[in-house]
């Protein structure tokens, strides 16, 4: 039933796309088949896999760094009032700086390098991860922490078995929104200052007004992210919430 609904919804999207292509003409909106063939051609030449790989590596690196730093900062800010007071203005600043400003400044200050690109993506994602984890840290159950303390549990045990399970819904939320945000920003970073990756390819295609290629790359990447969501994020969420009694 669920699968049928999902498939039906995708079929509807394809139909609308096909109709749109008829109305707007293949130059502005190539039909699904043309885009599919372009994807196959890019895949044959190896360019698709290479660019997807490069972009994915940037997404993974930026995402991992931002999540680890964000978790540490969020925990510190959620649990220590002084740290929160000091960190909060920085957070507000970073949250409100447009992504483009951070990227451009990073490239100007650090050159058109991989480090600058990664740093720009991390700085864009970091405040959101921090804010979400801080919320989680504020909601930590003091009673359980006291229990862990009187039973002399080690620091690691307290983190692994008492804190982490409480944080996991917040970490999952931060990962969800984080993954989609990070890949969008990685594309802009690549467009502006990298010689490869999906963003770079889309930039070149834009200059040539090659809508087919733009859509081929965008779709390929969305497919990859969808696969990650379905085969990594969702099973992980199911695993960490296995103890919750099912709603009847």
């Amino acid at each position: 039933m669920n699968a049928a609904l999902r498939l039906g919804s995708i079929a509807l999207l394809l139909a609308i796309w096909f109709l749109g292509s008829r109305l707007a003409g293949p130059r502005l909106l190539p039909d699904p088949q043309t885009v599919g063939l372009a994807m196959v051609a890019e895949a044959r030449s190896g360019a698709l896999a290479f660019n997807l790989g490069v972009t994915l590596a940037r997404v993974a690196a930026a995402f991992a760094i931002a999540m680890v730093l964000g978790t540490m900062l969020g925990l510190a800010m959620g649990r220590r009032r002084t740290v929160d007071r000091i960190g909060d203005p920085w957070l507000v600043l970073l949250l409100n700086l447009p992504a483009l400003v951070i990227i451009v400044l990073a490239y100007i200050w650090a050159g058109l390098t991989e480090t600058a690109a990664l740093a720009a993506v991390v700085l864009n994602k970091l405040p959101l991860a921090t804010v979400t984890v801080r919320e989680g840290a504020r909601a930590l159950d003091r009673n359980l922490e006291e229990m862990a303390r009187v039973f002399r549990m080690s620091r690691w045990k307290r983190f692994r078995h008492v804190m982490l399970p409480q944080l996991s819904p917040y970490l999952a939320a931060a990962s969800r929104s984080g993954l989609s945000l990070v890949w969008k920003i990685v594309l802009i970073v690549e467009l502006l200052g990298r010689p490869n990756g999906v963003g770079f390819e889309i930039g070149t295609a834009f200059e040539l007004f090659d809508v087919t290629k733009i859509m081929a790359y965008a779709l390929a990447f969305v497919a990859v992210m969808l696969a990650i969501e379905t085969f990594v994020v969702q099973p992980f969420e199911r695993y960490v919430s296995r103890w919750r009694p099912r709603p009847s």
Binding site: N143, E146, M147, F151, H161, V162, P165, R244
Partner: protein
């Protein structure tokens, strides 16, 4: 395992404990309280609801260090605590909850505890699947599994039906008989502890002071109805005098 007698007693001297209210002014919760529990002895702490019993326990187990006075724990001060609420990790099974608190407990010890407390069938259940009574028993099992030098229980039988409370009291009595451990049990109900304790501390209403200490000579199993009734009368007389 029991080395009753060759360990230090629990000694508590509290002069004063105040809480800072949200409104800003201070609320004195505890006054002068001095009590000692000998090694291997079961002591009960009785006082009216809200008088500061939980506060006193939190001070004894080291969760609250903001007070005037001193606390001396027995030997290494390994603690087994049963809080007023079960405080189990919802994301770990019954067995994992116990093992996390007591990593050194042997399988034999755990089997014995789960058996005595009627938890054998629930080892792999999550706390969300347990009734309140079962969750309380898991909390008891966890506190015993660490083989504590000091066992502290905060109203472990409250809000259970009378029958279950009686059974759990019996199970507790059996556990402390099998492996004597210095125990401090909090209650606001004399009847609840009278068959269990070797010594009863009676606290006044807030700010709590120690009204009287009442040692009970006969061992648990040898107490007669008449003796229990006499202790109950004596305690209620003391409590009433204090109130007047």
């Amino acid at each position: 395992m029991s080395r009753a007698g060759d360990q230090d007693p629990l000694e508590v001297h509290i002069k004063r404990k105040t809480y800072r209210r949200v409104s800003g002014d201070d609320l004195q919760v505890l006054g002068d309280i001095a009590l000692a529990v000998a090694s291997g002895e079961v002591a009960a702490l009785i006082g009216p609801s809200g008088c500061g019993k939980t506060t006193l326990l939190r001070i004894i187990v080291g969760l609250d260090v903001d007070f005037e006075g001193t606390v001396r724990l027995p030997a290494h001060g390994r603690l087994g605590v049963v809080f007023q609420e079960p405080r189990l990790l919802p994301w770990r099974t019954v067995e994992e909850n116990v093992r996390l608190a007591a990593p050194l407990a042997s399988d034999a010890v755990l089997d014995g505890l789960f058996g005595t407390l009627g938890l054998a069938a629930h080892r792999s259940h999550y706390p969300g699947e347990l009734s309140v009574g079962l969750a309380r028993r898991v909390a008891l099992a966890r506190a015993f599994a660490v083989e504590p030098e000091l066992l502290v229980l905060d109203e472990p039988f409250v809000s259970l039906d009378a029958e279950l409370a009686t059974r759990l009291r019996g199970e507790l009595a059996e556990l402390v008989s099998r492996r004597p451990v210095t125990t401090l049990l909090v209650s606001h109900d004399v009847d609840e502890v009278i068959g269990l304790a070797d010594r009863i501390f009676l606290l006044s209403g807030s700010p709590a002071r120690l009204l009287t200490t009442m040692p009970i000579q006969n061992p648990r199993s040898a107490r007669t109805e008449a003796e229990v009734a006499a202790i109950r009368d004596e305690l209620s007389r003391k409590a009433n005098t204090a109130r007047a």
